[in-house]
Symmetry: D2
Subunit: 348 residues, 4 copies
């Protein structure tokens, strides 16, 4: 950590600052410039984070040298990035992990039909919400446990692993008993109680970036989960909130290559929420893969016009098949494979 | 709700759109312009919100006519705004509700000393965190139940009601058994499970605006709590996240008068988090009161330099007394009183 | 345009609103709902934009039906999008228009070398600033007219058309006498005097999106240029300003397909400014092309470490060649060609 | 400046970095930590700003120690802040400088009437646009020189100095020949050619903050003007662009006290543009003064409903008189006077 002092800092103030730092076991190097004096602090930077350094008289600014996350950092894992098993696919491996399905589970028939269709088109997992976060308390909030049961049943029939959201610390065990991957939604990315709780289970966690979360915030949220013992975190870029209103969110595409540099964790993109418009799902998907995403999370519904949630951004089956077909050349250009196991069909 | 159709919409598409709307029991009025045809929908707009209207072929844009919140809306309560009892003070009444105390409860002595000092200076309630949301899993996360016990003890000694944060649905009853007001933090403003849970208890809720929440989102979050049966919600503006880095957050001062117009609920401001800098607490407090805030939430610590969290933005006792003294003239200018009960002292 | 009235609007207010609208030659349709009355206005919406409708007593909200831009709108041109000639390439055509070169022209030798190298690698035009917008008045602000002369000379030697920025209404004629395309920078996107001035010349204009400009603002800025008689506007997405600090700007990738839908004008992307980091240029370029961009604007410098501006985001020659090589498969996947004329060399 | 190197930086890289820095005449101090090596650079930091340090192999991050602006910085002027003469008032002095008038000059009668009324109510200067920046090329763009003549005439009749916008480098002399203060609008805050040009004249400049400008950007823009020889810059906070849509812009109130700390220049606020709503002008004005603003820029129109621009946010005369009346107590609380010369009337 580096401490920059105010112009005209006194010797007493300098001594006091150094003393505060050295008390914690770090060494200090003082470098006097013409206008400012700089104090370099060498040692366990983590200890300094706990001190309100800007509160010490004479301090003007503080710069950190090390990153605040450890387990999630790229440097933590030597060699290639981490891979997380998702059914027949390794998220973070060569094959693109396409996770598709409706925003909400609305019933067995629609989910079964969706499962079979997206599987045929090359999806590797089925998504679907049983507990739905809704901005208004008057909107449909999901089928609850009945939705989980439907997901499990369709998994049996299709062989597709199931990804579903958990919103409440009290439901983590319940959801984990049905789902293969637990999704933590954007609005809960800094629900630290929930992050800790999903860190205690064995299921992989799909962690969506919050609407106002920086890349650093997202990695610290992953660090919460990992520091509880669960190393299997998949990060998801789904757009941030900005002044632009032409799209539901602003898809921060650059976050994908930035994350691939900063962390060893796999990174997927959610083009459905990022754009909020059906017609943007394909170009955003192609771009995400071109930028290095390990997978996609795509909303697909048998009849988007009647969907109970997110219908405006859901693809119908034909559109999803078109997407997967269009995606192939981009996946190949990015050195990825798409759907190589299509032949090895599970008897549905 | 008003539906604007695409240029060149066909009669079949128009008929289909109208049919979808009329099936839900609303009437439609079609107005054909030179370039666009507009369909006005009259009836229960709420039903239309559940349909993905943009998914219907021929639809270009949709505008809502009514506000999505009801219980929280200004129109819901005739006459003056709601008042919420907080010890000797009515939040939303003439007297300014100043809530002061440390970011975190760090022990009995520091909290007791803080309680007595802020009370003498005119604070109406004591804040202090027992469960702390921290961006990093490696930061101090609060004393937990022991912190709650300390809060309760200092309440007994000072007569000050206690405001403290709840972060987990599983802890709502526990926190409510100690606290007078439950705070829902900015990062949990859209933790809908938690909102529902605090809606089931009888304690007032202090709901902080999320970093990327619009005024509308904040009111919908309040609606969540209220729709569960708890009408006592105090809203708190504490800054939003923008590109500006000179301050920790961007204090959205205009949200205060906007909220006072949109809702009957009381509105307080948190100048400590909004600016993130001790030197900004006074000007932001004065401004908040000038703009119509019903109260303030101020971080005060016996020795900010040693605080376990938020030290950089905490006032020491002398600074808090200076703030309260400076605030008087602004409160008077705003038609508010400050601290009229200072004489009626509880024997501490 | 649609006018929504306040709850409890009086008949007198309604009559007054209608009168204001009808005076301008539009017809009004009144639709009374349970809670709100809505007035649809049919006719020349443009006239209504000049009235402060929200100032009229009884008005609560106003929604526009038509887009505020005409010449720039997709509907204005039937069939395919517009193509703008740039040397041997049509921007907006099948071939990707890659425009490359240094941030600033720093001398003849470096520009000549850059011109030959980027041309060999497949660039279709040469960029380079002679007049530089710099945040600090103490930074290098470009070589001025000498820089323009160097650009013209390198054009002669390489056959590459030249793109350079104009910052001052007084310099439009001067810059146009040397350059093939005039660039209007992000900071001048709403310098309306400059927009009008470049609208009066015949050279194509490369219009960069402002840091806080919406897609609509960008199209209105293009409309300024076009409404003066210059239809040749190339739009450029180069990132917007948000809270994220991991990148210099936030690349709004979705703006590319949104613009391709909204307008017939060609759209290019600037991955250098969007990310502000050399290592992000390739993934952002691949993604832009995958999302439908018609071209790229890439900063290339013989020795980025010594560049007078933007060195941190400039590619060296080897990196640019790597980018062009990596781009080929993505271009093909997007149905684009890259560099088909490499063989037909101009004798440099 | 402080350079932080990548993990595993080699000795050769370290030597190369130091050599680059030392070549510019600075000294380097190397501090080796457990994980990172830090290089402190002592000497003329300005020289280092010209180098793309992040481009040098082995460099991970760079932190600056000094502020990039000098003439505008608080430290540049000893003692109290600068005062800029505006008619009978010193902007930056004890008296609040209220500048009022219509968005656009629409004719002699309306401006004359406005001038007399705002003067009676206590305004110290008259604002009014002759050249108007408009988002759409089809909107009214001002009366031009005729508007300037009207402004000058009303100044003669009322004694009020005149503030008006200049948008084009070619019009600086013309506008300066009529106006007392030249306004540079938000959209031109980084029109560096214009900043340089208004730096060459003697008139004070009212510099409005750009919609996506940080406080630092605003001060660098002021530095442009000042570095050309014109020290008389008045800064104006008028709201920034964020995701919130309840207001036209987000009024960054905290920028006022931050600016008062960072610079010696006077700071005024524009509550009309910040909120974009008539009903917000008063609370935002009160708050700005409470937070330390030296003055206000308020839109006033004889009949806002018919204004050619910004009618929705303009006050009528009665509302402006109410604002000035309400402001008195807040001004007094802030240690300011309002309108002490009301008696010393100029014969209009």
């Amino acid at each position: 950590m580096i401490i920059i002092t105010r112009k005209g800092v006194t010797d007493e103030e300098l001594d006091h600052i150094r003393e505060r730092v050295e008390t914690l076991g770090l060494r200090t190097h003082v470098s006097r410039g013409e206008h400012r004096t700089v104090i370099g602090c060498v040692g366990d930077e983590e200890r300094l984070r706990t001190i309100p350094l800007l509160s010490i008289p004479g301090v003007e600014a503080v710069h950190t040298v090390l990153k605040p996350y450890k387990l999630a950092s790229r440097e933590f894992v030597a060699g290639q990035g981490s891979r997380i098993r998702l059914g027949s696919c390794d998220v973070g491996g060569e094959e693109l992990a396409v996770i598709a399905g409706p925003c909400s589970v609305e019933g067995l028939d629609m989910l079964r039909e969706t499962g079979h269709r997206v599987r045929s088109a090359g999806a590797k997992a089925l998504r679907g919400g049983a507990f739905k976060p809704r901005t208004s308390p008057y909107s449909f909030r999901g089928m609850g446990e009945e939705g989980l049961e439907i997901l499990a049943r369709v998994r049996e029939e299709t062989g597709l692993p199931v990804v579903t959201e958990v919103m409440d610390t009290r439901q983590v065990d319940l959801v984990a008993s049905y789902a293969d991957v637990l999704q933590v939604g954007a609005r809960n990315m800094q629900n630290f109680a929930l992050l800790s709780e999903v860190g205690r289970i064995r299921r992989p966690v799909l962690l969506k970036r919050g609407m106002s979360a920086t890349v650093k915030d997202l990695l610290l949220a992953a660090e919460y989960v990992m520091s509880q013992g669960n190393p299997n975190v998949i990060l998801c870029e789904r757009g941030i909130r900005t002044f632009e209103t032409a799209t539901r969110n602003t898809f921060d595409l650059a976050a994908i290559p930035v994350l691939k540099q900063e962390t060893h964790l796999p990174v997927v993109a959610d083009p459905s929420h990022a754009g909020g418009r059906r017609d943007l799902v394909a170009p955003l998907s192609y771009a995400a893969v071109a930028a290095g995403a390990d997978g996609l999370l795509v909303e697909v519904h048998p009849d988007p016009e009647t969907a109970t949630s997110d219908g405006d951004q859901s693809l119908d089956f034909g559109e999803f098949e078109g997407l997967m077909s269009g995606l192939k050349a981009f996946a190949a250009a990015a050195g990825r494979t798409l759907n190589p196991l299509a032949a090895a069909s599970v008897s549905g």
